[in-house]
């Protein structure tokens, strides 16, 4: 089996897992959001890898060209990027409010403060 055939996908999986790990394991809220972004972006990379056809060009019609990469995943990812940034913006706004309400953005400190109540 040719390593190149799946190399892209393996790296993408590794990126995804790193993002997921940051999200689950780290206690800082901003770091968690960064993890979420990494996770989402790696999914984008996965989709775009899937759309590539070897030897093809970008899906913009030009005379003399016949082989184009698959445009559909590109469209889906354009939409997904927008969804991703919307989520990030909302999450960051929540973090700002949490900081104002609790004075910290570390998960365990927040939990300790909640328990005190």
């Amino acid at each position: 089996m040719n390593i190149l055939e799946s190399f892209n996908y393996w790296i993408v999986m590794a990126l995804m897992m790193c993002g997921l790990y940051i999200m689950i394991a780290q206690g800082n809220l901003i770091k968690k959001i960064v993890g979420l972004t990494i996770f989402q972006t790696s999914v984008f990379i996965f989709y775009i890898s899937m759309a590539k056809v070897t030897g093809a060009t970008a899906p913009i019609i030009k005379e003399g060209l016949e082989l184009y990469s698959n445009p559909l995943p590109h469209v889906l990812i354009l939409t997904a990027i927008v969804v991703g940034i919307s989520t990030t913006a909302l999450a960051l706004a929540l973090v700002i409010r949490i900081r104002q309400a609790y004075g910290t953005i570390e998960e365990d400190e927040i939990r300790a403060k909640d328990r005190l109540e």
Binding site: A14, V34, P59, I96, E106
Partner: protein, 330 residues
Amino acid sequence: MSLAFIHISILCFLLVTVLAIVRMRDLLAVVMLLSIYSLLSACFFVVMDAVDVAFTEAAVGIGISTLLLLSTLALTKRFERPHRTEPVLALFLVLTTGALLVYGTLQMPPFGSASAPAHQHVAAYYIEQSFLDTGIANMVTSVLASYRGYDTLGELMVIFTAGIGVLALLELKTDTKVSRKTEIPAPMAAHHILRIVSKMLIPFILMFALYVQFHGDFGPGGGFQAGVIFSSAIVLYTMVFGLDAALKVISFAWLRFFAALGGLVFGATGVLALVSGKNFLDYHALAEDPIRAQHLGVLLVEVGVGITVAAVIILVFMSFTRQMAENGKA
């Protein structure tokens, strides 16, 4: 082969960047690395022929998301507290998911093969027919705005929701009129060089945004990218000349109005088709000639997208900045 070399090295860089992010405790460095990560993935998208996606990722990942993260950092704090717990469970979960994914890749259609089922069914139709159906050279634009235009309306509503959400979350604690007495400081405005250069740049940025907006039919670009670029001009203005000056250019009420307007322009295009007895978003209702109708429909829709995206991004950024001004006074 040389292309394979480029994309493999980009992928390795990506991996290194992410590993650095996992280890780093300085959140400012994390944000910077994240923007490098976005830049690298945008480069990767170019190599993979996804120029439109690369453009968007560059504008969003490097521009907007870094900007928002930095503003949040300014409002919270820069360093992450070291934590002592050993995340065994997290590691286990992550490794299980990873193993499952790798297991899935073992029988995937190989990378880059033209005979993979993904390229056969619907995609083949788009590649062969989209130019004949719509007369738009950029397939991504024609699929985005026409074939799957309804998804784009959904996407627009997602970003509208985010704008409304940020507005609802980050309201002012003090009354706006009271706080008007103290001028919100704009430390950057003291730099002559900065002021002059940004004044020189802003018209060009706005012009570029318009170019991107209307060039989407022929090359990479479209409403979303244009909106982001347009907003970046206003963001630059806000950063250099301060929030007060920017609010004189465009106030929150206007931004809210434009955010709603873009969605309504998109929706109205669809409803126009409904009224004339065609299905929702069927652009053929707009003109006799199908190609012209498609062009017109795509144009209107992209304008709607551009307006809302620009308005929401400015709105979000200004809300963040306003919080900063609040904090500064307190």
